[in-house]
């Protein structure tokens, strides 16, 4: 069972729904505030942090970066900069545990992030 904490600022319910749909019984998803979600990963109560906002790194990842350091976080898309599959593959392989993207890139980013995480475990 891989535990996901959904933080970030926008489309939280959409993100949680998509994680559950893709991961099925292999995942557990909780929607929290960004602070609670980052703390959950820090205290090992969750394995991964996922968040979205309008810049991909502000509301999405600020708490995660502050608590987990930037080495553990990856912004996989930015406004006008769609997610790149190989960057996501690399980020998961590098052991990043928090992922941020812009709300409008969720459909492109999230399935790749999940595929890589599920493959890894």
């Amino acid at each position: 069972m891989i535990r996901f904490a959904v933080g970030g600022a926008i489309r939280k319910d959409d993100i949680a729904k998509m994680i559950q749909e893709i991961g099925g019984e292999k995942v557990e998803v909780k929607v929290m505030t960004d602070m609670q979600a980052a703390l959950a990963v820090q205290s090992k109560q969750a394995d991964y942090y996922i968040g979205a906002c309008h810049t991909g790194g502000g509301g999405a990842l600020s708490m995660a970066i502050a608590l987990l350091t930037v080495a553990k976080c990856a912004t996989v898309s930015m406004p006008g900069r769609p997610p790149k599959e190989n960057e996501i593959i690399q980020a998961v392989a590098d052991g990043k545990v928090a992922f941020g993207f812009t709300g409008d890139h969720m459909e492109a980013a999230l399935p790749v992030i999940l595929r890589e995480i599920l493959q890894k475990s």
Partner: protein, 424 residues
């Protein structure tokens, strides 16, 4: 006067970004302490800042500024983020970022002015028609509190809010002119709808009670909050300058108030900026507390001050005071938001609603403008470019597609006119 203001704003904003005092891009703010505390090199920081902000300057800031001939703040402050982040550490960096920032500020002002002048010299002058890009926003902006209500509490409550907001608008139209002691006060229709809509949203939001354990942000990040308070004087100067520049009609903080300003609806623009500021409180407060880095325009209320107070000098003083109050109250604001989680969420939903509203309104505006520039070709091109942008994975942010496509149609009309395929 304008050139001086732009130079000083550019220089100060670049120095603040260089020293990690304040950055404009909310996505860059969390990265700043990583450099300040030595976990991220200057070149990595510069590369990140460039990747985050450059596309938005070209694809968001400049097109909006061109359609209204008022500078959208993103043009300036996303650029100064990059300049500050790319300049070296120490005093050398301060001097370099200050000089380059001042040149950049002046360059943006003169550059945009000369592009507008150059457009006016073209065989097909499309600057007049281009202004239509903002026409739908000027009315539609009043719907966003209802949309935020919908995002937060479901479509049904969104419809209720939208209905009441429309009724409030029509009441203001019908009975909005009040004569008192010889003076007539005119209630503004869209402003009234916006205020009523915001009141309903906040009413719903206040009812949500905190559940589960809350974490006291301010005590977790006490050192970082102290750092912001130490930098308060610089932040206040910056806030004052931006409020003054807004009062002078030189710049705007967001596409909605920019278009209202262009139409001369300063009150509406002020209300829109105020409501948007409420949407930014939770984001700016929480990213600032967690990073120790503030925003050069704070929670964006300085723009509302600039729009309500038309005297640049007075707006400057009030703008500086506003930033001072924001910084001093950071801790209290964070605790208030913990107590009322509905308000924190409504901040995210207000921003979401504004961007969705802009995506639709600017697409329609872009189509109308493009079709006014080149009848027939306009609709054809804008729809085509919008869908192609979707297919390409959105290299241009959705809300900028309308304005950019309209500008492209204007350029295309000129090219076609030169080769004889388009007649005015």
């Amino acid at each position: 006067m304008n050139i001086m203001l732009m130079a000083v704003i550019g220089a100060l904003a670049s120095i603040m970004a260089n020293k990690g005092i304040a950055v404009f891009n909310d996505g860059l703010r969390p990265i700043m302490p990583e450099h300040i505390e030595g976990r991220l090199s200057r070149s990595e920081l510069a590369a990140t800042a460039f990747a985050m902000s450059f596309g938005l300057v070209i694809g968001f800031g400049i097109p909006f500024s061109l359609t209204a001939s008022i500078i959208l703040i993103h043009c300036i402050l996303l650029g100064t983020d990059i300049i500050g982040a790319s300049s070296p550490d120490g005093n050398k960096g301060m001097i370099i970022s200050g000089i380059v920032g001042a040149l950049y500020g002046v360059g943006i002002l003169l550059g945009l002015e000369s592009i507008v002048k150059a457009f006016e010299l073209l065989p097909v002058n499309f600057m007049g028609s281009l202004g239509q890009v903002g026409a739908p926003i000027v009315i539609a902006f009043a719907a966003f509190p209802a949309l935020a209500t919908g995002y937060q509490y479901g479509a049904k409550k969104g419809v209720i809010n939208l209905t009441i907001s429309v009724i409030a608008r029509q009441i203001a139209v019908a009975f909005g002119t009040i004569s008192m002691a010889g003076a007539t006060i005119k209630l503004n229709p869209e402003g009234s709808a916006l205020l009523v809509g915001m009141a309903i949203l906040l009413f719903y939001a206040m009812q949500e009670k905190a559940e589960g354990e809350t974490v006291d942000l301010v005590s977790v990040f006490a050192e970082r909050v102290k750092r912001i308070k130490k930098n308060m004087p610089y932040l206040m100067v910056m806030g004052g300058l931006v409020a003054a520049a807004t009062a002078a009609g030189l710049m705007a903080g967001d596409p909605i108030s920019l278009n209202l300003m262009k139409e001369g609806q300063l009150m509406d623009a002020g209300f829109a900026a105020l409501a948007r500021g409420i949407g930014f409180i939770p984001l700016v407060a929480s990213t600032a507390i967690a990073t120790g880095v503030y925003g050069p325009v704070g929670m964006t209320f300085v723009f509302a001050i600039g729009l309500f107070v038309h005297n640049p000098l007075l707006a400057g003083i009030l703008g500086a005071a506003m930033i001072g109050v924001e910084v001093l109250l950071l801790g209290q604001i964070a605790r208030f938001l913990d107590k009322f989680p509905g308000i924190r969420k409504s901040g995210d939903n207000i921003r979401m609603a504004m961007s969705q509203l802009l995506e639709v309104a600017l697409l329609v505006g872009g189509m109308n403008a493009a079709n006014a520039i080149a009848p027939g070709i306009g609709f054809f091109m804008v729809v085509g470019l919008y869908v192609l942008n979707e297919i390409a994975g959105k290299p241009v942010v959705r809300m900028a597609v309308g304005p950019i496509a309209a500008i492209l149609v204007g350029v295309l009309a000129n090219i076609l006119a030169v080769v004889g395929l388009f007649t005015v």
